[in-house]
Amino acid sequence: MNAPHIPLLPGFADPVDDAQRIFRAVLAALSRPGMLQAISGLPPAPAPLCAASGAVLLALADYETPVWLQSPSPEACAWLRFHCGAPLVDAPAEAVFAVISQPLALPPLAAFAQGLPEYPDRSATLIVHSAGFGDQGLRLTGPGIQDECRLGIDGLAPDFWRSWQSQQGHAPLGVDLLFVNGDSLLGLPRSTRVDVEGKGE
């Protein structure tokens, strides 16, 4: 193994408890779309990862889950290989987890694994760095949401929600999203319907 030029950042302080805690936050996020989950006390992760996207990978990725980084850096690759043992892939379609650090340049959702009709679970989970969360702009409905949920997700390309809606035409196939920003985590499973407010269609 090649020694990295800069010292490797550490992973979880307590791999068992930290992984469990982060997983429960991700589980809550995908179970209750639109409800922000706080994840604190995260170790720093090398760019382009942020502490939150790094923590999700530390908790869930391993040698069985190819990871795709939108803008890979040697530090992030070395860190993921060391702490997760995860293979890094060049093609989005091969990834189980993908980290989108520049959401304005997000590849089409269809570029990622969508699952198969008989195995829709064989699809990618995208961890998207959002520029922040607001409380308006989007109306979410679907499983995990009692009536409806209104919120905003900043920093996405203007046509993003159109591609989300077109993915729903292929349900139950599709990708699942985890938005991260600072210490916050927000889940958007493929089952969530998103209407953009003020834009009658």
Partner: protein, 292 residues
Amino acid sequence: MNTVAGYNFAYLDEQTKRMIRRALLKAVAIPGYQVPFGSREMPLPYGWGTGGIQVTASILGRSDVLKVIDQGSDDTTNAVNIRRFFAQTAGVATTDSTGEASIIQTRHRIPEKPLGEHQIMVYQVPLPEPLGRLEPREAVTRKLHALADYGLMHVKLYEDIARYGHIASTYDYPVLVNGRYLMAPSPIPKFDNPKLHMNPALQLFGAGREKRVYAIPPYTRVESLDFEDHPFSVQRWDEPCALCGTADSFLDEVVLDDAGGRMFVCSDSDYCKTRQGAGHTGSQSPIPAEAT
């Protein structure tokens, strides 16, 4: 600190937990769909809750409070045994109280006390495939789920009506989750089916021997299959619980002697105990044989 030397927190190794956790996340994202997972051999036999145990072990944290019930009761030997397993391997707090639990592992019942958003139900599932009794080949049932082709089940239910005048499933009564996937609710009595619908708690299902997990997220539509002229219905008892007097819980029939004497008592032991503690009381006496 772990209470059993040589084993990881909650018995499973971290790689196995990650694999199950990933499967659970996909299960939540695709409500009612059965996600295959690399089920491990557990130190308890297949068919005795290995799926539920693996799910619980994968989600459990040190601050969780665990309740385990079998047939609604905390005191049945299998519930005692599984609770003991987690107390030993994870050192977590356990409780009999439905309200105090953050995770409730169950076999065959949903507690009578409504669940809250902070709770997770974990169901032990023996046979996860709702179409399995009609079509045993998984290669075929996977295709039927992919096509949402549930004609087989509708025909079966219709034949029941033609033959018996009503649908003859009393437990493991099939449900449609989020309008898409047909799901086996594990063999809970159909009495409990309405509790699956729009439940504030997250509901996770684990089938160890059949190597699948599935989920119903909170606030998800869950419909019990029926026909317009034969709407879904649940059983009710004429007798209230002989111990706590409730008329709205699932009752166990307890045979008291060999002359037909018996009693109907709550299957949910915590519910019954709590009511009795609050001063509610039932007839306390058996139904004489001739009375029925």
